[in-house]
Symmetry: C2
Subunit: 301 residues, 2 copies
């Protein structure tokens, strides 16, 4: 799993800061998470082959999280995209995208499906053989979801040496990976546990932006491998959290601690701070394994 | 008059090219002309105090000409703008902007007025004491207008030496500027023409993007000081003009020649060309005074 931070700053524009957008590479998918203004150019900057993006997850309908989506769709159109595309986001997103396409007389020539969200409970919104995605209801000024991306438990790992020692035909490998016992060339049943190792533990990534301090999300993100949690403010501006419904670095760390995640990534910094290192310093007072999101960097998960 | 090119490339995104947007500084106004994605960041890059923008002119509803507008309005909102703002653009622009504000529960706290255009004839859309703005109907895939910005004839210039020689009280200056004759300290009537010079000839700027070769616009832009005309293609791709309804550099030059403008600025280059100098070379075969728009540069008019 690999997370590319395309942008990680809050709304007010600065020449060198970009609004929220991320690419999660997971089990051969390229998931786009949020899509602030200018995301398509940043995808180019980061040399991401964006025709591979089929699923876009939009947390909420504040502009710094989705104003770049219509530009990206329009570009797909110009480039003659034919591959299907799925957009998961709050109710209303279909209307606004379709209205803009209609006004530009720009009809998409690829299947474009909207999965509009309005539930206040966590729900599974995507699932295939290897990955499952569910919403993380958050608390912001408007209806907002985070997203939890989980790998499913993989196949068992075949112990090739044991397979040979036990005189098993290698054509049984797929069956062995799936956990079955097999009969060897001598007609003896060999137990699966004797010829396989456990699969890697599945990894998970939780994206939580934007939200006020909201411990109700903890049961959903419990034991997550990596949590990205917004930290718009430093402690000195904690008084701004109530009206804006954002979090401080310390509050993000408190969520990480209570959820027992392995690593916390901070982002969505207010552009009032010239130096973001203080976010790390403050969060570390509560939770040890903290990293700072920065535009353009990649985290291996 | 001063024209700042914020962006001058066509739609397909590249890391270093920006879609159409310009700032025209004219008689104490900062007019924003078109507003492609990322315009607000480019305004910052060009150090333009964007709270001074009160009038925005949108040529047509293709994304590379207006997807940045909602982001700019949202930023005005965040910054607590109170000054009025006027948007001139095709019918539909109000619906799309208001829908996005509604979905974000982002109500503007400043007077925001839409002047929706649907006429196929040229019309005056803005006028004050010093400036007049009228539409230039163009021919593109969707309803599109260019805009003609004209200074009005200014006050007459007072010849201070003649005023003194003629024993005229200087409190008459305002009256003299307006063209009136005055009576001097000896009771003699002094003719205005003897104590003033002609005002500077009024300047004008015509913005024509996007359009196919469309000589019907020539009577409107006749004798304009500076014409910006789109040139999406070089001669080798002239065959693409019919389907896309764009122009070549030569066609832009032909319009400039027939309209007898003083200077032609080319722009809206397709991003397929690594070197834009050829646009100038080809246009110069038809019309001599050609300049190339480039992102971030300023033309004195």
């Amino acid at each position: 799993m690999e997370l590319t931070i395309l942008g990680c700053y809050s709304a007010t524009p600065r020449p060198k800061t970009r609004p929220t957008s991320q690419i999660l590479s997971i089990k051969n998918h390229l998931f786009l998470i949020d899509c602030g203004e200018g995301t398509q150019v940043q995808l180019r900057n980061c040399k991401i082959k964006f025709s591979r993006i089929k699923h876009v997850f939009i947390s909420h309908l504040h502009g710094d999280h989705y104003f770049g989506l219509i530009g990206l769709i329009s570009t797909f159109l110009l480039l003659g995209r034919e591959t299907e595309m799925h957009i998961y986001g709050p109710k209303g997103i279909k209307e606004v995208i379709m209205l803009q396409l209609k006004l530009g007389k720009s009809w998409v020539n690829f299947p474009l499906t909207f999965h509009e969200l309005e539930s206040k409970d966590s729900e599974i919104i995507f699932e295939d053989e290897k990955v499952i995605v569910q919403t993380i209801p958050l608390k912001h000024r408007i209806y907002t979801n985070g997203f939890l991306f989980k790998e499913k438990i993989g196949d068992r790992k075949v112990d090739i040496d044991s397979v040979k020692e036990n005189h098993i035909d290698i054509s049984y490998c797929q069956k062995i990976k799936k956990g079955f016992d097999v009969i060897n060339e001598k007609g003896v049943t060999i137990l699966n546990e004797n010829i396989t190792f456990n699969p890697d533990p599945p990894k998970s990534y939780a994206f939580c932006s934007d939200t006020q301090f909201y411990p109700a999300c903890i049961p959903i993100i419990k034991n997550t491998t990596v949590l990205y949690h917004e930290s718009s403010f430093l402690d000195e501006h904690e008084h701004l959290c109530a009206a804006t419904r954002h979090s401080t670095a310390k509050q993000a760390a408190e969520i990480a601690k209570q959820a027992n995640v392995k690593k916390l990534i901070l982002g969505h910094y207010s552009t009032r701070y010239p130096n973001i290192e203080k976010f790390k310093t403050e969060a570390k007072q509560i939770f040890k394994n903290v990293e700072l999101a920065k535009d353009g960097i990649v985290f291996k998960i």
